[in-house]
């Protein structure tokens, strides 16, 4: 892994992409000559994990800078891909299109929030943190504000937010591994963890970077191919993202035909939903607009406060590259996010349009119940149908589905060959693994660098630091897999919480540390503590304490409570206490100028 490797990156990943496409073709050939669907699924998941583990092994290192920040030599474009994989989790890949399928326009708040947040990252944070030269986000908080208490607060917020998030990711790897490899969920969770650790244990950030680039390539191919395929099948053109407007319009007609939103389900199945929300119709009440805006704001501020994302920009060679890299990240994320609504639209059209062979509504109940994909997913409790009114015809309120399966089941619903299902499973696995890797590393690095090295044993030598880092990684991974195996939350609930925890506690202390020279230690501690504590208290009160919602702020949006309290406490306490010393002020000045040495020395 020397400069030669960096120079050859386009060639290496070009060959890798070609190899992956050849592998897909090989699988398609195997399917044609009669190899079973199960075998193809196993091959897809096993082959890709094997590749990631190989990259992880090749990237092993015993150098501090390589372990924490990949040696600060990741080019902007490749860091953009790695960030996109780091960012797009099992939730984006597996759950987003399903959310749009069931939630319509209201759910698009996630799509807007999870892209627009990068404007905040690029304009307010990433370039300045890169110039600071820290290894972790608490490293910045601890140095800018000074003192172990500020550093510890940042570690706590980071650990809570990231741990909430990582259990959801390991849950997703478990779900996909258990389906593709035909093993029980509880075993799948530990299998997923093994794959994740193989990528990160030996090489830290360096290994995670290069596996994430590989994972991005797999996941974007896996997401876009089925959509293009379906679009061509239905005659909506080769680049469906620009031409599915007609499909949206057609859905409007079909919703009227099937009485979507008028026929309410009369039965219920745990975890499954019937379609009751129109696709493109936006809420017209102030409350609906307020809910959309607050969710967008929480997801955006959360994006800009989540340490596993911010730390990716510590790995670029320069401040300029950090900025460019955020732009590339958003571009690569955009490719998936503007495809998700198209996927949701096409899948819905497949099911709703009675003129298509795949349409199920308005057809004879017995025929639909006999469909292969309906049976397969019913057997695992992810789909249910019930002829509630006993007329022998399937109505819109008689079909129930788990929203998380929309992406995974779409190839089967559309009657695409099984090789596509295998590809989608490998893509979902890549999305969940890459995010889990980034999150586990963020937590373990904060604990090993900030808690252990900076606070407990500042005299530890390099070898000891890196061994401690790996032991912590292993321990946290095992704890996360254990929690995931208990199946406490659905994938998306926990993911939104991570954003709210992060923005409640970290957003203003991070931003004001750069943009307000006067911001000082007591203010930052108050901001982190009050924001995090009030947001968490509100979540507990509404979720388990039986308290009524304030202004419709539910558990997905509790950052709306935490953020203002964090801002006000930070400003008030800062103004009541002394301004920071000249050295700290100079630190802020240096952070604002790209040229010159980093604020923290290269080896700290």
């Amino acid at each position: 892994m020397n400069n030669n490797f960096i120079d050859n990156l386009p060639k290496i990943y070009g060959m890798y992409t070609g190899g992956f496409i050849l592998f897909i073709i090989l699988m398609a050939v195997l399917e044609q000559i009669g190899v079973s669907a199960e075998t193809i699924g196993v091959l897809f998941v096993a082959f890709t994990i094997f590749i990631y583990a190989g990259i992880g092994w090749l990237s092993r290192t015993m150098q501090v800078e390589a372990y924490y920040v990949a040696g600060r030599q990741v080019p902007a474009l490749f860091n953009g891909m790695a960030t996109a994989a780091d960012w797009m989790s099992g939730a984006s890949f597996v759950a987003m299109a399903g959310g749009i399928y069931f939630g319509g326009h209201g759910y698009l708040a996630f799509v807007v929030g999870w892209t627009g947040g990068y404007i905040l990252v690029a304009s307010l944070m990433a370039p300045y943190l890169r110039k600071f030269g820290c290894y972790t986000v608490p490293d910045y908080i601890g140095t800018r504000y000074g003192g172990n208490l500020a550093r510890l607060m940042a570690v706590i917020v980071l650990a809570v937010a990231s741990f909430t998030y990582v259990t959801a990711q390991i849950n997703a790897t478990g779900t996909i591994a258990s389906r593709a490899l035909q093993i029980p969920f509880e075993v799948g969770v530990w299998f997923g963890l093994l794959g994740i650790l193989l990528c990160s244990m030996l090489g830290g950030m360096r290994a995670v970077t290069w596996t994430q680039v590989a994972q991005y390539i797999v996941l974007i191919i896996a997401y876009v191919v089925p959509v293009i395929w379906m679009s061509n099948k239905q005659g909506f053109g080769a680049i469906p993202q620009f031409s599915y407007g007609a499909a949206v319009a057609r859905l409007g007609e079909l919703e009227a035909l099937h009485q979507v939103g008028i026929l309410k389900p009369t039965e219920s199945f745990a975890g499954l939903k019937a379609l009751t929300v129109e696709h493109a119709t936006a809420g017209s009440t102030v409350m609906a607009n307020w809910k959309f805006a607050t969710l967008v704001l929480c997801m955006m501020a959360g994006t800009a406060s989540l340490p596993h994302i911010l730390m990716r920009y510590f790995t670029t060679p320069s401040v300029r590259d950090a900025r460019k890299s955020v732009a590339y990240s958003l571009l690569f994320i955009f490719l998936l996010y503007f495809t998700a609504p198209a996927l949701a639209t096409f899948t819905k059209l497949q099911l709703l349009d009675p003129n298509l062979a795949t349409g199920i509504f308005g057809k004879a109940f017995a025929d639909v119940a006999a469909l292969e994909w309906v049976q397969k997913w019913s057997n695992v409790g992810m789909v249910a149908l019930s002829d509630s009114n006993g007329d022998g015809i399937l109505q819109i309120n008689e079909f129930f589905m788990r929203s998380g399966i929309v992406v995974l089941a779409t190839p089967e619903i559309a009657g695409l060959p099984y090789v596509i299902s295998g590809l989608v499973a490998a893509g979902g696995m890549a999305a969940a693994m890459s995010t889990a890797d980034g999150l586990l590393l963020a937590i373990a690095n904060a604990l090993s660098h900030d808690l252990y090295y900076k606070m407990i044993d500042p005299t530890a030598d390099t070898k000891k630091r890196l061994i401690v880092a790996r032991v912590l990684l292993l321990g946290i991974g095992a704890a996360a897999a254990f929690v995931a195996s208990l199946k406490l939350t659905s994938i998306l609930g926990a993911v939104a919480w991570a954003f709210d925890f992060a923005c409640s506690g970290l957003f203003f202390p991070l931003v004001l540390g750069i943009w307000w020279k006067r911001a000082n230690r007591p203010g930052a501690i108050a901001g982190m503590f009050m924001g995090f504590a009030s947001g968490t208290a509100y979540l507990i009160a509404i979720k388990w304490g039986g308290m009524d919602l304030w202004l419709g702020i539910d558990h997905l949006r509790f950052g709306i409570i935490g953020m203002p309290i964090s801002l006000v406490s930070m400003v008030v306490v800062t103004l009541m206490t002394k301004e920071p010393d000249a050295e700290t002020q100079k630190m802020v000045d240096d952070m604002r100028i790209p040229s010159g040495e980093t604020v923290l020395s290269a080896k700290h």
């Binding site: 698009l108 404007i119 955006m300 460019k324 958003l330 100028i593």
Partner: protein
């Protein structure tokens, strides 16, 4: 960093700040303002899409991508203008 005078630093920061404010105003428009009127915008169509839906599914996202590349370009220009950009 003693070779950069406080005046140059202040001027560089003032320009950086106004660029950031411009970008955040654009961001605010595409993140919040257009979606607040989504229901009204749905009465219009753009390349076959209802506009309110289109902005949330694609329009705002594309705007964000353009804004963020513009920011990287414009900030680099400012850094070069004041001689504080990093050496290539």
């Amino acid at each position: 960093m003693s070779d950069i005078s406080p005046e140059v630093r202040a001027a560089h920061w003032a320009k950086t700040r106004s660029l950031t404010i411009t970008v955040l105003l654009l961001w605010f428009f595409f993140a919040f303002v257009v979606h607040w009127f989504a229901s009204d915008l749905n009465a219009f169509t753009f390349i076959g899409f209802p506009v309110g839906f289109y902005m949330a599914a694609q329009g705002s996202l594309a705007a964000f991508v353009i804004i963020i590349f513009y920011l990287a370009y414009a900030q680099n220009k400012i850094d070069e203008e004041f001689g504080v950009a990093e050496d290539e």
